[in-house]
Each structure stands twice: as structure tokens, then as C-alpha cells.
Symmetry: C2
């Protein structure tokens, strides 16, 4: 067989040649911009020349601080296909972390959305390696900015030829993209994706959901969040029509209109989005989901009531997927198997609401305290370990923390899970969030879900706090629904028959106006633990 | 990213662990045998031990002479996953060629279906490397045979453990399977597939047709014919239910019953099969195709009337695919693009009846006499050249003929084609079958199609014969429909307004009872040319 490297170039050039009329739709507040893969390719070529003109060479890192737009999609292929590495920076990180990652990646150029200039201007003086700034703008005009030297993307690329000879001699294991993941402690950790890993991940994603050229994809997941879960790569590769909602990502009216008008068949998102959608629909929001077939949810657990409500009332069938920045991110997906079609709906929701079945191409172990694989009984707990061609093997320039997470050639996910006889993985907790009380484990996530099933509770986070007798006891931080009053006694009463054992009942409650969240919208338990260790309550 | 090799082991073990209840159905004349991937895996493990016990080591070749059965599917994974190479031998080859390929591959063991013993017994004394014969039988009894030493497969594997530690340290470029393709002249030529090439080809096949776990596949294409077009690999990889029709492959009643009862969604076959199916249906044969979604046709051109008839009357929507043993085989597939859905049906059939659009992951050139790429205008002719990770780079132990076919790092397909502005490839002819008359090219295939559109003509083959004035002129070998009489004058009259130019009209006709066919059912033009060079007429 021919020794052809697996390069993103192959995805790009085939689609440009054979699907030049297929569309890319980029939604802006005042405009729906549409162009074709033919146009897209010409601009990607111009952009590759522009990168060269800025002195970007093979292996160099350049950063994007950008929303889901057609220009960002140009960066997605232009940078890696010319041999450089696109660092998609999460602008929602705290400013000092954003500066840290741009410096740690040694980014030479930063491409920044006009709308996101503020995130960059505040830290520009801390940047040690950036030589150029380029503004992505739909207005055609350079905005006022303190960045320097700074160019307007469209002007920068305009003067270059619409053909580029993308190299086909790159090693398939060359870096193509990189992302940083916020760490529990310390600075964010970098993950470098290769051409090979993205290529294979694209195929595995398509194979998991049965996605192909006939589909139409809407990218709700931010393009800095684990590469929008890899969907833009497989979409370009297969010539799939793509919808990029940019600043309108959280505008449920526009999202619903895009789904209906563009005939979207596949989308991905985090539960926060699905909750916004549900609220919009419950208020009678206009929608037509008749073309939708694939809806993947990830990032954090999607509450079951939300999955059921969206499906039963609105024919919006969510399936969960599981992964992390370190896993490209697809590690598992919660589709019901073909023979489950006739199962009762509640059993089907059990499957869909799990973390799913291991993705094709990967290997998994779920390992208990003693280093043994847990039984596939849906009960035994263990930590998820993963291995495979799109699983990271290290953190970028961070041998110390790499050692801890990648011991023995497996990625240790830090997630505690069960696996049932059908192979469905169910997350129990983060290893570090488990509460160990009197020698017995308590799942903070299970306990939170029970507490959140109380009609007056909107959100709850459970952490372990020190206890002289039991070493650790559970404490619940609770946010009540608007206008609702709730007491510890009411909650204890409610929990009595629902928890697995009496020691699961929180020894302490704390009622908050809102729970602190991380930059990707998860409960910030580390913050809570720090607060309560210091004795301060927000 | 982790340096994990792309091995078939990963497809096998994931499905065994997480889809153990999904079914494999193997149809025998007196029995429909079904078992699960759980059972399958246990037998594949036993079989791997058995191979070891026969002295089979990494890299050794073993042959199968077998129909599409569950035992053959066990060989498909058992052999490569333990590190050896499965040579799927085409028993329809002439006996001396069959002996040649078993010797040329240096097969150590031959696995042979009880029903196919005759093919092997006649040539067993010519075999130079085979140490053992193993009979695949559903009866549980050793048939009478002159082969020696010979074992019954089920007995051979029965004594071994149902667990096997399949190696994960194979190089992904290790050989996994091999096939021989009958050459125009000389001995058959061997193509070796690697773990990597099969792994990638599986994903590309799935991505092309949107096939995934929810599908159910019926394997009509013989498992010795370019690995049943790779479908068994992707089916095992994705935990897809598979139907193997064995000796009943040509029994249209049983095929139709299997499609309906097993709820088949995807199948592949050659036009000969579709013609048999059409005849069966036209006679009122029972069928229910309501679950069928993907039907790929390849091997030779599927006549348009057949595609239209099957779709219009029976809701059986065939799409053509194009490839060869050297291309694993998927090179292109003729699906209409998403935006063509509303096109008039005749334009859609134009797309479906083409050789299709280049498969994801490959690269193509269509090169004219001057070595230039032809225009994408649907008119210019050129030879198809292919490149990609599942395209062969050589013929096995045959540097001489490898040089001719793989010059410059591209596979030269020997097919002449056009490519239109949408990227659809249309085969014009085989390079060697083109007729060059007075300096002008004539496509034998186009001319055959025009002749075959005559209501009294069943089959026609066009070859070039020597001519003192025009160097070469077209000659047509014609088979009339049963009971029909036809004259040269009638045909000349019919062709007059239909051919592209008057020099296309055959200078000579020959009416035959049937056309000679090759072992894979194509018109044997080489045979015809030899006959007419020698002046003999069948």
C-alpha cells in the first residue's frame, strides 16, 4: 500500500475540487453571510500565503481568539495545511491564564475577532512571543485598537494568489492544532493534536453518528472548545454544509431559525445551551426540527428531565457524548444500539443519558483502587483510562503533570465511572470530587442529582469538608429556584428515603444566590472547597 | 498524541466487548445459522490458537477458498489479528491460475469450504508450500477428500481456549490480507493489504455511505472479491449486524427473504446480481425492500435501464461505486450530492450511473495522452491515476509489472474516463480496449451501450481489428435476445443517427450465442481479440 501521510490537506483539497458549490453559512448579527467551499478554498490559499508573509514557518504556533465564523474556519485549515499549528485560545479563561497560554504556546501571530479585542488588549503587554495581531472583522474596517502591529485579515489576504501548493510531505504526526485545558490546580495544560489524530478522529466521529455528505451541521460548540469537538474537520472533509452562528450562538430564536431554514441535520452543544433552548421553546418559541437527526451533548452531564422534555415535547433527541480536551474529544457516545429500538423509552433514555459506549478505534480500562478492571455490572466504580490514536500522550512542555496523567501509556481521566453489561459507561464523579466519609465513598454527582430533584432546588454542588470523626463529610451548596424558600430540615426529610445510605445526607448546607462556575460552565468545586476551607461564604 | 498502531485487533476487541449481543447470520441451504459477536469472538480466539498450533507465524500466508459464511468471517479477523496474512483465493480462476496464486503467495495452510473441495483437489499435487488443509463445513462431519493432511475446522479449533491475547505491537503497515487480480496477460497479480489500509478504507467506506452501527449489512459480493469490498471489516468494526448468504447468494428468493426478515439496510453487488434480482422481481417475486437505504454496485457498469427499473418499480436505489483490487477497492462512489435532491430524476440517474466522486482520503488525476490533467468538462478523456493510503504501491513479488502500473507513485488504472464539473467520473473505456481508427479514438464501451440499446440485442462487445486503411476498425460481437433475428443492415441503420461519427459504425459484425466472460463476469475482450486474430469464431 502507498505510504501516504494522513494530512488535513487531503480533506481540504478534495472538497474544494469536488464539492465547490456546497455552502458554508456564517451568521452575523446584521447579516447571514454565505459562500461556497470553492470560495472558501480560494481564501484559505490566500491566507496560507499571508501566513508565510508574516514569517510563519512549519511548526510555528499561531493563535485564534475567535467565535464560530467562516474566518475562523479558514484558520482551521489554512494554518495546519501550510504546516503551522493553530492554537485555538479560550478567551473565557481568566486574563492571566489567557496570557499564560499565548506565551506558553509561543504564539507568533494572534488572530482576534473584532468582538473579542477587549480580551486581548488588556493583556497585550504581557505577551512575550507575539509579533503580529490580525483582526477578523465582517465590517471591512479596522476597529480602533491598541494592538500593534495590527492588520485587518481581509486586507492582509486580499493581495495574495487564490492558489497555494499545500505541502504533501508533512509527517502525519506533525502538530496541527492545540488547545489548553483549565487545570484543577495551576496553569492550563496544553494538548497538541496532529494531522493524523484529527484525521482519524474525524472518521470516528462520522462513524459514530452515521454522518456524511448529505448532512448539514450547525456548530454550537465554540471552536476553541476542543476544536468544536472536531466537527468542522469532518464537515470540511466530507463536503458537509456548515452553519457557523458566531455571536448569535446563544440567540435561540436565530438558532431555531437556522436549523429550520438551512435544514440542519446534526449539531452538538453543552447542556447550558439545551437549557436555554428548552426555556425558549417552553415560552412558545418558533421552531421546526424536522430535519434534525443527530444531536450530541457533552461538556457536562445533561439533566435527564431536559433530554426527555426536549425529545418528548419538541422532537429534539439528544444523545450524550463523553470526552475531554485530551481525547480530541470523542471518547464515547450514548446512542442506543440497533436492537434497543423497541425498548421502552425510559430504558432508551437510560442509554442516551449515560456517557455512552467507547468510540470505535479506542481502548478503555475502568480501574478500581486495587488497579483491577471493574466488572461490567453497572455497579463497581473505577477510574476511566483511555488509549488510542487520538488520545493525548502528554501535556505540552509539562513533563511533571504529564507524568501524573499519562502513567503507563494510558490517559487517566480523573473520572470515576461504572460500566454496565451493554458497555454503557456512567460517570459517578470526578476522582477528586468523591467524598470519603468513614471509609465509605459518596458520589458528589449522585448526591447533587438527588438534591436537584427537589422541586424548589435549581442547582446544587456537593463537596467534602473535614470532619474530626468521619475524616470527611458531605456539604451541599444549594441555589433555590427564584422566590423559593427552603430549610435544611426540609431537604433532610426529602433526602431520607432517596440516598443510598444515611451517611450520604449532608452534614452541612449552604444556601447561595448562585454557584461559582468555571470558564466552561461547570460547577467550580475547587473554588467552593477553597472558600469553605477559608471559612468565607459568597 | 499516543503512538497507537491502526490494527484490525482494535475493531475486533471493541465489538466483542461492547456489542456482544449483535448478530451474525450465515445462510446455508438447509439452515439459517445465527450467532452473536460474543460467540464469534470466542471462536476467532480459538481459531487463532489453532493457527499457532499449525505452525503459522507472523507474516505467514494462509489461504481461504470459501464462500460468504460465518467461518470465512472468522478467518477474516483471526488470521490478521494474530499477525498472519489471509489470502482470499478466487476459486473461479482457471485451475492453473488458482494453483499459481497459492504457490506464489506461499500459502502454508488452505482453508476450504466443503462445497469447494473440487476446486482444490484437482490441483493439490501442484501445490509447493501448503502444509495443511482445513475443511470448513456446516455439517460437522469430515467429507470424503483426497486432501492430506486435512482437518475439520470446527474440530480443529474446539480444543483451544476462547480467549486469545491478540498482539497490539504489530506495525500498522504489516500485511493483513491479500488478493490476486486476474491480469490481462500473464499470471494473476497479487495485492497485499495492510492493517492500516483496511482500517482506513473501512472508515472511508462508512463515511461515503453514512453507514454505522444502526445498519444491517448483507454481503452479496464474494469475500474473495477484493475482500467483499471491505464491508465485513467495517461491519465488525462498528458492531453492525451482518448477513452472509453463502451458497444462497444467487438464490433471489432467499436473498429477498433475508433482506426483509433481517431488515437489511445496506448491501453491495455486481450488475449480474441486480439483473438476476430484476428478473426475479419481474416474475412477481416476493420482496420487501422498505429497510434498504444503501445499495452499491460495482465490478462493471450497471446498465442504466436496470438501475432505473429497480428503483422506479421496486424502490431499490442502486448507486455505482468504482474501484479495483488495487484500490481496496473503494476509489469513488456515485451518490448524488445533497443539493441535487430536488433535481429531475434523469439527472439524478446520470449521477448515480457514473463512476462517482473520488472517495474521501484519496487523490486523483485524469491524464491525457500528453500527460496533462483533463478539464472537468465531462468531455475530455484521460487515464485515471489514483493515490492514497489504501491504494496499492506494487504487485506482490512482481517488480516488472509493478513498474508499469505504479509509475511515479500513482496507480495507473488503465481506465479511460471523463470528469464533469461536479466531479463525477465517467468511464469511457479500458485504455487497452479503446479502438483507434484513422487516428480517432472510439470508446468500445460507448459503442457497446448504443448497440445494446437496440431492442433485439441482449449483449454486445466491441473490439478493434486490424485494417489496412484505418489501421484499426471497430468490430461488434453481438448476442441477440432469445428467438430474435438481426442483420448487419438493421444494426447499421439503427446506429446511423446514434453514433458520434460515421467511423464509429462497426466495419464487421459477428453474431454469437453468448459472449465469453472472465472469472469475475466481465466481457472477455482479450479472448475475443485472440479468437479473431486467429480467425476462429465460436
Amino acid at each position: 500500500m502507498m505510504d501516504c501521510p494522513l494530512l488535513l490537506r487531503s480533506f481540504l483539497t478534495r472538497t474544494a475540487r469536488f464539492f465547490p458549490k456546497k455552502e458554508i453559512v456564517s451568521i452575523y448579527p446584521d447579516e447571514v453571510f454565505r459562500y461556497t467551499y470553492g470560495d472558501y478554498y480560494k481564501r484559505v490559499c490566500q491566507f496560507a500565503h499571508a501566513l508565510e508573509s508574516l514569517g510563519v514557518k512549519r511548526g510555528d504556533r499561531v493563535a485564534s481568539i475567535a467565535l464560530n465564523t467562516h474566518r475562523h474556519l479558514e484558520l482551521y485549515f489554512g494554518v495546519p495545511c501550510m504546516g503551522a499549528v493553530l492554537h485555538t485560545a479560550n478567551f473565557r479563561l481568566p486574563q492571566h491564564h489567557l496570557a499564560y497560554i499565548l506565551n506558553h504556546a509561543e504564539d507568533k501571530v494572534v488572530f482576534v475577532d473584532e468582538d473579542l479585542l477587549l480580551f486581548l488588549e488588556g493583556l497585550k503587554d504581557q505577551l512575550t512571543t507575539v509579533k503580529h495581531f490580525v483582526v477578523l472583522s465582517q465590517t471591512g474596517k479596522m476597529p480602533e485598537t491598541s494592538l500593534s502591529p495590527v492588520y485587518l485579515y481581509d486586507d492582509l489576504i486580499a493581495k495574495f494568489p487564490q492558489e497555494y501548493d499545500f505541502p504533501d510531505d508533512l509527517d502525519e504526526k506533525s502538530p496541527a492544532l492545540m488547545c489548553y485545558t483549565s487545570a484543577t490546580t495551576g496553569d492550563p495544560k496544553g494538548v497538541v493534536y496532529t494531522h493524523r489524530s484529527i484525521y482519524l478522529h474525524s472518521f470516528a466521529g462520522a462513524a459514530t453518528f452515521g454522518v456524511y455528505e448529505q448532512d448539514c451541521m450547525l456548530h454550537i460548540v465554540p471552536m476553541f472548545h476542543a476544536n468544536a469537538w472536531g466537527m468542522p474537520f469532518l464537515a470540511v472533509g466530507m463536503g458537509i454544509k456548515q452553519i457557523l452562528p458566531g455571536r448569535e450562538t446563544l440567540n435561540m430564536e436565530k438558532i431555531c431559525r437556522a436549523i429550520a431554514e438551512e435544514k440542519v441535520t446534526a449539531t452538538c452543544g453543552v447542556p447550558t445551551i439545551w437549557l436555554m433552548l428548552y426555556n425558549y421553546l417552553e415560552k412558545g418559541g418558533w421552531h421546526d426540527f424536522s430535519t434534525l437527526r443527530v444531536i450530541a451533548s457533552g461538556g457536562s452531564a445533561c439533566p435527564r428531565y431536559l433530554m426527555e422534555g426536549l425529545n418528548e415535547k419538541y422532537n429534539f433527541p439528544i444523545r450524550q457524548a463523553y470526552g475531554a480536551t485530551e481525547t480530541s474529544p470523542l471518547a464515547s457516545a450514548a446512542l442506543e444500539k440497533s436492537y434497543m429500538k423497541d425498548w421502552p423509552m425510559d430504558k432508551i433514555y437510560d442509554a442516551r443519558a449515560s456517557a455512552g459506549i467507547l468510540a470505535i478505534g479506542l481502548d478503555i480500562r475502568i480501574v478500581n483502587d486495587k488497579g483491577e478492571d471493574v466488572k461490567m455490572d453497572g455497579k463497581e466504580w473505577g477510574e476511566i483510562w483511555l488509549r488510542g490514536p487520538w488520545i493525548a500522550s502528554e501535556y505540552y512542555k509539562d513533563p511533571e503533570r504529564s507524568k501524573a496523567s499519562f502513567e503507563g501509556g494510558w490517559l487517566h481521566m480523573g473520572d470515576v465511572a461504572t460500566i454496565d453489561e451493554e458497555g454503557y459507561i456512567r460517570l459517578v464523579d470526578r476522582t477528586k470530587d468523591l467524598v470519603k466519609s468513614g471509609g465509605e465513598w459518596i458520589s458528589s454527582v449522585d448526591l447533587e442529582n438527588i438534591i436537584m430533584s427537589h422541586p424548589k432546588v435549581m442547582e446544587a454542588a456537593v463537596i467534602g469538608i473535614p470532619d474530626p470523626k468521619w475524616q470527611e463529610v458531605p456539604m451541599a451548596c444549594v441555589v433555590t429556584s427564584t422566590g423559593q424558600e427552603l430549610t435544611e430540615e426540609e431537604l433532610n426529610d426529602f433526602l431520607k428515603d432517596k440516598v443510598k445510605a444515611s451517611y450520604w445526607i449532608p452534614k452541612k448546607y449552604c444556601f447561595l444566590k448562585e454557584l461559582p462556575k468555571t470558564s466552561v460552565g461547570k460547577f467550580d468545586k475547587r473554588g467552593l472547597r477553597e472558600q469553605f476551607a477559608q471559612g468565607t461564604i459568597a
